[in-house]
Amino acid sequence: MKKPSLEQKLNKTIEKLDASAQKIIATRGYSSEPAVLRMLSEILKEQLRNEDSRYSTRPVR
């Protein structure tokens, strides 16, 4: 099970990434930069969604 502190930290990071992507789009328009930020945010969200993150990152076989 994920530690609550780690979960909070990941949630904060996701917020930061989404806000940064939004800012870049607002000031410079859409480019590969916000796409990378959003991808990173998606990786973290997937990690949070998994009930047991111990397994979601383990090498399977």
Binding site: L6, K9, L10, T13, K16, L17, I25, Y30, S32, A35, V36, L37, R38, M39, L40, E42, I43, L44, E46, Q47, R49, N50, E51, D52, Y55, S56, T57, R58, P59, V60, R61
Partner: protein, 389 residues
Amino acid sequence: MKVLFVHGLKLGDLLMAAPVLQFYRRKYPRAEFHLLALPEAMAASQVLDPVNVWHELPKKKILETAALASVGLLDGVDLLAACFDRLNLENFDLAVSLSHTRFCAYALSLICASEKHGTYFEGENLKCSSLDFLEMENLKETRKLHYLDAYRKGFGSFDEKVEWRFRGSEEDTLQKRSLLNEGRSLYLFQPLSSEVKKAWSLERWTRLMQEIRRMDPLAEMKILCAPFEVGEVQALSQAAQVELLPTDLKEALAWIRAADFLITLDTSIKHLANASRCKVIELCLGSADFFKQAIYKPGAVILTPKVSCYPCAHQSRCPLEKRICAQGIEAEDVIQALKFLKNKEERPSIHCGAFITTTTDTQWSYRALSAQGGKNEKAVSRTEAEQNH
């Protein structure tokens, strides 16, 4: 021609997409196929033969940068950007998203290719290469189609036969078979799943193995596991006096091809059995929703628990202190399933929620031999009505 496939889910999901890769191989027989996958799915390279070049997304490093205060957040961004810069040096002609996730849609937006298939972002707009993907996007919660059939529709291969083919030689299988005594049946068990809430209890696995030995005294039984999982299944092996078989994916495939029966949870191993003659019983527990992701093989038996919360959401944690779904299938139910597979007994008397057998004539479907208990019964009859419609 160069094609890049992007996959953003786990090993089992990638193995389930094998027929899509075979479809593309038939379509572009001489193309160079590249696949970008997460580290947890890279083991598929042992068995997926249409792919020529594998690329691993540095997920572990990316997550470390997000979790460590000492490392700047931008390191993760740089790692990702560098990964896609490297990929774009390959000059792909076609990019295909193999998983219907936002992660893959963003990944495809970073790939320079003249043609894109699946779901992808173009600027801020989500695009779909076919109306079927759009329908998937709009009707996320419907239970009309097995995931593989949804992909087959989206990629335009729905009218073609599903081809399950994994790497591995006939000699490997024959060699495994030769290790067995003549006339004996080989039973394989896959008791571990990557998700705890899909697990069945140690006591039930033990009772099942003991019952099989009573029913078939000459039975050869083996417990499949990855080498690093030995510690987790040692207790079961000792309690049931059944040999452990720690193998990589390629070896597991050879053993499955040599086996008569595989009894498995919802895990990557079951998809390997699609390319074998082995008869399969799948225990669907927790978030293992058989309507969407069951074994894609005719004549398999699927058992579900008799509890009102099955199937639960993939993302949510089980709120119960003791998972009741793990107690919703009895060893006796699995024995009934074995008897059905051996003798085609049509009226199994069961304790579990649903007992169904699968068909794959034009698409994945099933015949319910028995269903009882609230949600199971309703879910089975509702989906039958949808599929008939």
